[in-house]
């Protein structure tokens, strides 16, 4: 029998983690489900490849997993039982500064405070008060702001005001909605480097520190500053576990089956076209890819209402993508700055080059103009510190990332072809300069680069190389993401839902868009919410 003959209750377009999680829940609810994936392998951004040499596992896209132990999906779908293993680095983040000093953020917050205190005792004290506060309301915030459909910003503000937030919290205020992360940090902290370290945390979550209005989500981000996890054996392993969840529950995942059209009959989405022909969806089609593909490519123009078409065409993507350098290394790096703070050699996510808030402003404005920083500021991670199995024994796997323009001033997106290799070397040199001399000379075996243009070609829903699939900006968050009309995961076409990173809250391994779409679908279709027992 052909694999598509019977059709499926639900067809999910795109086998990224959001689509697969939704498929897992629906399959466990007794639905027949198929996930159709354009690429040769399931997982979307959960993509691990040996791009330098065999046995060096490079996470091409998703590397830092922030919501392990917080996100309900891990437990609901029993991902640990299905083979996912995480490491939780005890030294989560660090900054190495040009003068040889370093800052470290530990899971043990007393140690973090001690590191901060070497730069400013006042800031260390402020940090501990801030940390205590956000830890206190973290669960509530995550539950209501991430794992539920978006709440309008005005409603959030009103709720905070009526609760009397200004009297009860030193840090939360109704004014956060108009402040940038940088302004929040300037208000509460005094030391440039501490501010840079904390702003770096926002930046790697795609929250550009100088964008007005993003301070409103910043406390939630800070609450996760010590929850970065490394997926052992490569991030792709999470995709394997999701696949097992789906198939065990009777669902199917079909990579290399690109959907070419969403088929609408009588105004309702009833299936999809593929190179293998029509596949019927008895109950719904859920798209986990970007809204431009969904509405502009996969649906016939006549089927998309004027308002939807207009608003989708206006969706903005991030103006800073990433340039990745994947490194096969002869061992773990040792930094000169370890003389100042030995913990820096064990810090997982490293800030190299951002030393003040002004540095972010400078860097992102350069990137917006399509230029490459001569001395790129890096975000660097060596997963082998916490997962030695990602490289041959005694060796290590490294990742360098640079915020970078999708289109270069000289040459546009394709211009990357001519400069990528050389720019990779520049980034590597900057990194190696910080290591003790022996390491600096001999630690790199091979490296491979991945430009924003290549990212956009490989992961075509990362439009303009935007790994968040939609910019992080007040105009494109909460009830505005991706558009006012589409924010609730439903579309004007009955039977067609949106469940990918284009939706609230955003990209990253949060599973929240898929989880929230599930809630909406459950309400519309009368599915018993077995996962939502209080």
């Amino acid at each position: 029998m052909g694999m598509f003959d019977q059709g499926f209750d639900a067809i999910i377009i795109g086998a990224g983690h959001n689509g697969m999680a939704l498929a897992g829940y629906l399959a466990k609810s007794g639905w027949s489900v198929a996930v159709l994936e354009r690429r040769t392998e399931e997982g979307g951004g959960l993509c691990t490849e040996e791009v330098t040499e065999p046995n060096f596992l490079h996470n091409m896209h998703s590397n830092y997993h922030p919501l392990v132990g917080i996100c309900p999906v891990y437990d609901d779908l029993e991902l640990t039982e299905n083979g996912v293993e995480y490491g939780h680095p005890d030294v989560q983040m660090g900054s190495i500064f040009a003068d040889g000093t370093a800052l470290t953020i530990h899971t043990d917050m007393q140690k973090t405070a001690a590191s901060f205190a070497r730069f400013s005792q006042k800031d260390a004290d402020t940090w501990m008060r801030l940390w205590d506060e956000v830890s206190g309301y973290m669960d509530l915030m995550v539950r209501t702001l991430m794992y539920a459909p978006p709440i309008a910003l005005n409603d959030i503000t009103r709720a905070l005001a009526s609760w009397g937030v200004e009297d009860k919290s030193e840090f939360l205020t109704a004014r956060l909605r108009s402040m940038s992360v940088a302004e929040f940090l300037d208000k509460h902290f005094e030391n440039d480097r501490i501010k840079a370290m904390l702003a770096f945390h926002a930046a790697i979550c795609a929250y550009q520190p100088h964008v007005k209005g993003l301070a409103v989500s910043y406390p939630v981000l800070l609450g996760k500053i010590a929850n970065w996890h490394v997926c052992k054996g490569g991030s792709h392993r999470l995709a394997h576990a999701l696949m097992r969840v789906i198939v065990k529950a009777g669902g199917r995942v079909f990579p290399q089956v690109p959907v070419t059209q969403i088929v609408v009959e009588g105004g309702r989405a009833v299936g999809v076209m593929t190179p293998d022909g029509f596949v019927r969806a008895h109950k719904l089609v859920a798209s986990s890819i970007d809204v431009n593909q969904t509405f502009e490519t996969l649906l016939e123009p006549g089927l998309v209402p004027e308002r939807t078409r207009r608003e989708v065409a206006e969706v903005k993507y991030q103006d800073a993508s990433l340039f990745n350098v994947h490194v096969a290394m002869n061992g773990l790096p040792r930094y000169k700055a370890a003389a100042f703070d030995p913990a820096i050699d064990r810090a997982w996510i490293l800030n190299i080059g951002f030393e003040s808030l002004a540095d972010f402003e400078h860097e992102f404005s350069l990137v917006r103009s399509g230029r490459l920083p001569e001395r790129p500021r890096l975000n660097a991670a060596v997963n082998s510190l916490y997962d030695p199995t990602d490289a041959p024994e005694g060796k290590a796997t490294g990742l360098l990332r640079v915020f970078a323009p999708f289109a270069l001033e000289a040459g546009g997106p394709e211009g990357w072809g001519a400069v990528a290799r050389q720019y990779g070397q520049v980034a590597l040199d900057r990194w190696c300069d910080l290591m003790v001399d022996d390491d600096a000379r001999s630690i790199v075996r091979r490296f491979a680069t991945e430009s924003p243009h290549e990212i956009s070609q490989k992961m075509i829903n990362y439009r303009f190389g935007d790994w968040m699939v939609g910019r992080i900006h007040p105009k494109n968050l909460l009830e505005h993401r991706p558009t006012d009309e589409l924010a609730e995961y439903r579309t004007p076409i009955p039977g067609l839902y949106l469940c990918g990173a284009s939706q609230h809250p955003h990209g990253y391994i949060t599973f929240a868009p898929g989880y929230n779409a599930l809630g909406v679908i459950a309400e519309d279709m009368g599915i018993d919410k077995w996962w939502d027992r209080v």
Binding site: E53, E81, V253, P255, Q256, P392, K458
Partner: protein, 542 residues
């Protein structure tokens, strides 16, 4: 990990391990399969090694056994996503001077192939008509030979003799039995006279593990690699790795516990019996009934069990098991703007639509010299290859309008060159190939290549744990086939260590995507563990 004890623990999630796991689970056994890499399927593998969207099968490409493979039918793999394409023109040889190509068509298109051979020799056309018709007739005999484990052997008995089966095969074909003792080259030369036809058959012969074209006693491979195989070649839609996707889905459906990124360090012995495994991170997975290893012979016996726990005989035979110099490949991958257009196409445009395109040789002697180089630890001076452009049949394997070329060089063993020398080969050999290629297909210029990549034997060894880069996990010479593979004492899948079984490509019938080593191990395990014979299928006699 849900419980660290299972009935059966399988080491290695290549296609043999997956086969074994799926059948045993279907027999009601609690199975856990452990894979060292982050990805399943071993060499059943596809990767975008050149540029985004270009899928390259840098290991297995020719799915020539799917129509006889029990796993494919028993688990209804097409319904799980394993779809195939059977290109009409299976193989073709192009020539530099643009003379007519030599083409081999699907198995039942004997006349078309004969017509192509007849351009160079009427006698060769007749020989193909006669021999291929017989090969088609005896296909199930060959299938049974592949999918039946060699008989159990005791040291007190006389040794199994692979020649007996080979001789009877020749006699079944109505050919002189003595030919079984000859070389593959002798056989090709005896039945085919045109140099162009010989050249193509030489190259086709080495593609499926034919031990050196010039080793006596390899005549069997003439029947197998030259007559049976070309015609049966199928490709997986979406790339070879999709076969793995379907196999993995089958395993999950049957309830197999699957753990990737779980490399086994050693096999645990308890009272001399295989009792489980220990992983490199120290975790233990215990096996109540059996440990089945679907990885390499030396990896299993010498590294994971340890020489100290083996008898002298087993240690000697395992230590001296040979890898290479045949079956050692360098894989070339190129992302192309347009597919190759051969000069020879002016005689027969079929060459541009042949799946397996042999390019770079002007004569049969060129192919012989090419093979001899590898045997003398040298990279062939003539940078010839056989390539396929799967995007001609399956548009999903490359970006719209573009093409994915992948191919094989035959190279010396991984240990023949230093790491630096292999890097030099990686940096230069594709360019040499391309310069030669342009003389056969003028559009194959640097400008037509978007990006390229070369996977060396050293990469094969390190990445897939194929020692010496030998894709068959052990040479297929007369002393290492059938009842002698990998050596007589373990050819029946059990080992001298109770509870430890072998199921990888080091077993009969060797490398290639047959799923036979795993399937044959299942037959033995069903008997030894007194399981229901779930491998039996009323529509199949093997």
């Amino acid at each position: 990990m849900s419980g660290t004890e299972h009935d059966v623990v399988i080491i290695g999630g290549g296609h043999h391990g997956l086969t074994c796991a799926a059948y045993l689970a279907r027999a009601g056994v609690d199975v856990c399969i452990l894979e060292g890499r982050h990805e399943w399927g071993g060499a059943v593998y596809t990767a975008e090694v050149t540029a985004p969207g270009f899928c390259h099968n840098i290991h297995a490409n020719f799915m020539e056994f799917l129509h006889i493979m029990p796993f494919f039918a028993d688990f209804d793999l097409p319904s799980l996503g394993a779809r195939t394409i059977h290109p009409e023109i299976q193989a073709g040889m192009a020539f530099r001077d643009g003379r007519p190509p030599v083409l081999i068509y699907q198995s039942d298109m004997i006349e078309e192939t004969a017509k192509s051979f007849a351009v160079y020799s009427k006698r060769d056309a007749d020989a193909w008509r006669e021999l291929k018709a017989k090969a088609n007739m005896f296909e199930l005999v060959m299938a049974a030979a592949l999918y039946t484990p060699p008989a159990k052997w005791n040291q007190s008995e006389s040794l199994p003799n692979p020649m007996l089966a080979t001789q009877s095969s020749f006699s079944m074909f109505g050919l002189d039995e003595e030919m079984a003792f000859k070389t593959v080259r002798d056989c090709i030369d005896e039945y085919f006279e045109a140099d162009e036809v010989r050249a193509l058959l030489y190259r086709v012969a080495i593609e499926f593990a034919a031990p050196s074209l010039e080793w006596p006693g390899s005549g069997y491979f003439f029947l197998f690699a030259c007559l049976f195989m070309p015609g049966c070649w199928r490709m997986m839609v979406g790339g070879t790795h999709r076969l793995n996707g379907a196999m993995v889905t089958a395993c999950i459906k049957e309830g197999v516990t699957m753990r990737e990124s779980s490399r086994v360090k050693r096999i645990l012995l308890e009272g001399g019996r295989a009792a489980g495994v220990e992983l490199v991170d120290g975790k233990r997975v215990l096996a109540r009934r059996a440990v089945v290893s679907a990885v390499g012979l030396k990896d299993t016996l010498l590294d994971m069990v340890g020489a100290a726990h083996l008898s002298d005989y087993t240690r000697r035979r395992a230590t001296h098991f040979k890898e290479g110099p045949d079956q050692v490949l360098g894989s070339v991958a190129m992302a192309l703007h347009e597919p190759p257009k051969y000069k020879s196409a002016r005689w027969d445009p079929g060459i541009d639509r042949a799946w397996y395109q042999v390019v770079g040789y002007d004569s049969a002697k060129d192919v012989l010299d090419y093979c001899r180089a590898g045997h003398c630890d040298r990279v062939p001076e003539l940078p010839a290859a056989a390539v396929w452009v799967n995007s001609l049949w399956d548009a999903t394997q490359a970006p719209a309008g573009k093409h994915n070329l992948t191919g094989w060089y035959f190279f010396p063993k991984a240990s023949a060159l230093s790491e630096a020398e292999w890097e030099e080969v990686r940096a230069t050999y594709n360019d040499k190939f391309l310069r030669l290629y342009g003389e056969f297909a003028p559009n194959m210029t640097r400008e037509n290549v978007i990006a390229d990549y070369l996977h060396t034997p050293l990469d094969q060894e390190r990445g897939m744990r194929m020692r010496e880069g030998d894709f068959g996990h052990g040479a297929m010479s007369l002393d290492q086939v059938m009842g002698l593979r990998p050596f007589a004492g373990v050819a029946h899948h059990g080992t001298e260590i109770p509870g430890l079984y072998l199921a990888g490509s080091c077993m009969h019938p060797g490398g290639g995507v047959t799923a036979a080593c795993g399937y044959n191990a299942v037959k033995v395990l069903c008997q030894d563990l007194e399981l229901p014979p779930v491998w039996q299928n009323p529509r199949r006699f093997y």
